[in-house]
């Protein structure tokens, strides 16, 4: 009985994820999510207290060694996951909401509203992402929250474009025409007929975007436009490691953390996108 239930649960997982690559990616991503949630319990030491000798190489007490002022580097990497991953998730969530809403309005109402919104979107997309985010972050002032806002400015247009293209096709659907003939309002049609049909593609795009968001936010922190010392954040930790380049562990561990998160979420997003194609045809 239990075996059967386990098998059916396993089959409910999208087929693409049930591949070895998918299982590894999901395991890495879930591990990082668990680490981020339980970071205070998993960190053996206070990530900001200076209780060890500086520049200790990785050893049995300090698994990832210590930094220039004697802080346990393993605790800092673990605590850094909380900031890096939660901010990435927040950024992706905000980009998804803002971009989807804008794309929904543009695609549904069309005409001059669509023209104005899409030219604005083109404008944002025409700037190199990191440069634009840097300009906005510098203008707002260096802080974690401002770095998320700056990243949001460059992240929403992709969602707006994706949602608009889906809405343009959905609004011509017969079930939307049927809803119009029944006297449903535009708001009701958007909420009940359009949005539910765009959610799966948007979520897949979001899962693909988590890695990019982590990279962008870490990049801003690396450039000194995000987290400020002593806050443990992976990008700023790598930036700080530049001052002592010969201490290999200082750049390697936060770098590996960013790498694993970015690759894991990108693989999941890719596999989910592959899975979506036959799904769409089936619908």
């Amino acid at each position: 009985m239990g075996g059967k239930r386990r098998r059916s649960l396993w089959k409910r997982i999208p087929a693409q994820i049930r591949t070895p690559l998918g299982v590894i990616a999901v395991t890495v991503a879930l591990t990082w999510l668990v680490v981020a949630i339980f970071a205070p319990y998993l960190s053996p030491y206070d990530p900001v207290s200076q209780e060890f000798a500086p520049y200790l190489e990785p050893n049995s007490v300090n698994f990832f060694g210590t930094d220039d002022i004697g802080r346990d580097y393993f605790s800092r990497v673990v605590s850094g996951s909380r900031i890096s991953i939660s901010l990435s998730l927040l950024l992706v969530f905000m980009s998804m909401i803002v971009g989807s809403l804008i794309g929904l309005v543009a695609g549904f109402f069309g005409g001059w509203i669509d023209e104005v919104i899409m030219r604005l979107t083109d404008l944002f997309m025409s700037f190199p992402t990191v440069i634009l985010a840097m300009i906005v972050a510098a203008a707002l002032g260096a802080s974690l929250f401002n770095s998320v806002l700056a990243a949001l400015v460059v992240s929403w247009p992709v969602y707006a474009r994706l949602t608009r293209s889906m809405v343009l096709s959905l609004r011509q659907s017969n079930f939307v025409s049927a809803a119009r003939l029944m006297g449903h309002s535009s708001g009701r049609i958007m909420l009940r007929d359009i949005v539910p049909n765009t959610i799966s593609s948007t979520l897949i795009m979001a899962s693909l975007d988590i890695g990019t968001a982590t990279l962008l936010l870490s990049g801003l922190s690396f450039l000194g436009l995000g987290a400020k010392p002593p806050t443990p954040e992976w990008g700023s930790m790598i930036s700080y490691a530049l001052h002592s380049f010969d201490k290999w562990w200082l750049g390697l561990f936060p770098g590996l953390a960013i790498f694993s998160v970015v690759v894991a979420f990108n693989i999941i997003g890719d596999l989910l996108r592959d899975q979506l194609d036959p799904e769409v045809q089936r619908l």
Binding site: N174, R180, L181, M182, G183, R192, P196, N197, R282, L283
Partner: protein, 293 residues
Amino acid sequence: MSDAVADIRDVRAGKHHSGQDRESRLGNGAGSLLLSVRDLKVVYPGRPPVVAVDQVSFELFEGEVLGLVGESGSGKSTVAKAVAGLLAPTSGEIIFDGNSMKPLGMAKRPVERTGIQMVFQDPTTSLNPRRRVGSQISDGLEVAAARKPEGGNRLSVEKWLERVGLSASDGNRFPRSFSGGQRQRIATARALATEPSLLIADEPISSLDASTQARVAGIMCKLAAEQNTALLFISHDLSIVRLIADRILVMYHGEIVESGPTQQVWNDPQDGYTKRLLSSIPTPDGLGILPSA
């Protein structure tokens, strides 16, 4: 198929009309005028512009079944969409129930104008794939309650599902678990649950297999007749339309080339195109002779 055809013939004979003689009410002044289309013209922009419908005029009476036939690209679906308000005519007038019909814009259609409903050609996009079919049929009941609050006890979603030959428990399922024919029946239930005065069926059977075609057409015709809903049935298949329609309009290149009572058009076609259309209907006589056109 034979049951479905017999059912359609019963409807034609007026058996579903509470003893009323159907023929006596239709098209000969007994039923009141429901829809009047005058000089309808629809031009699609382009280089050059395409005149899809040109100077089309016809009338439809309460409870009547009007067949609109013609080959692909003759303008049938454009007429249907213009009548429903889904596209704006270039010129001409559409009067429904005494009121000039305005094309649908972004504003919601007033509830008193929801007396025209439509069943579409493509069963895969007729229903919202993300909503349970019961919920979609209940939308229709909601419209009926808003437009005719005095309507008394209405059929439930379960009853509507049973009326279109599905089980009451099917309401909890999503459209993807139904076949094309079943989806068209669900779309019919949703449209008729609004208790419309006019149901436009825009080639609802053309993408279905032959045995399902007669069944869907039969159910649609029977249910529309039971609630005195007029039916504008569009098809390129004259053999099915002949079984359903009281009158037939034949369209060719955006114009109506022939119109008249079904038997008259079927037995004594006047226009050359209608004759070709009739001669192209395959005859299942076992001789293996292909249609002449």
